[in-house]
Amino acid sequence: MDDDKTFKALGDPTRRKLLDLLCEKNGQTLGQLCEHLDMKRQSVTQHIGLLEEANLVSTVKRGREKLHFLNPVPLQMVYERWIRKFEQQRLALLHDLKTELEGENDEQ
């Protein structure tokens, strides 16, 4: 499943850092990204490969350069499936609590 790839790609601090770097400045080259990471270029390439496979990073060739862009669409899918559902329950509980407390206030 797509979600497996997303979670696997996110399950590593270097890859999360790469996403943060692209969030800060979208469209960076491999060289620019390497400047912020204390590891070999080859390792960074591998991490980016996994992010690309999970569709969290997309690349565009511009002349000789290859630019990397953050692609948050799979994160949105994960959010819809795995976060919002639970958030809604929590918000519904808060709403019930609010109604209950405000109801009591009215009676005072």
Partner: protein, 158 residues
């Protein structure tokens, strides 16, 4: 454009035909289902298109021109707030590229020529992931997402 510009590239893989995906972008009654807005135009190069809120008010939110169209492979439009339509400097550019990929379509949306730090740049970077995941959901499962959903506004409060 004189000021610094930014580019965003969004990619999603959708289990559908390129024709279906292209139609979902350009046909108002389909876009209304998953986007909450309709893209209205005669889709001829040089024609105006409008992004219309799909409700009773039919408010025109965005407008631009059709720059290039090659169904079902490519669509390029300019993109501005409706109130900025007459100012070419305020137009950014959106390119939809559709490429068959195994039994799916790889849809790439490139939004460039955006003014860095502008409200539009900020708005679209929140909007596109939502719209594209809703489009994917709608075409694959017939269940669009609520693109107007806001984590702070409880549905139960309505």
């Amino acid at each position: 454009m004189s000021s610094e510009t930014v580019t965003f590239v969004y990619v999603t893989y959708i289990r559908a035909t390129p024709e279906k995906v292209f139609e979902a972008i350009t046909r108002p009654e389909i876009a209304a289902r998953y986007w909450g807005h309709e893209n209205v135009s005669d889709w001829k190069v040089g024609s105006r298109w409008e992004h219309v809120r799909a409700n009773d008010k039919r408010e025109v939110m965005l407008a631009g021109d059709v720059v290039e169209i090659d169904p079902p492979k490519r669509l390029v439009i300019s993109w501005a707030n409706q109130s900025d339509y007459d100012n070419p400097d305020k137009h950014s550019r959106v390119t939809f590229d559709l490429v068959p990929y195994e039994d799916m379509v790889k849809l790439t949306v490139t939004h460039d020529e955006l003014e860095a730090g502008s409200g539009m740049a900020e708005g679209i970077s929140r909007g596109w992931p939502l719209v594209l995941s809703s489009l994917k959901s709608y075409l694959e499962t017939d269940e669009p997402m609520d693109v107007f959903a806001n984590p702070c506004a409880t549905e139960s409060a309505a």
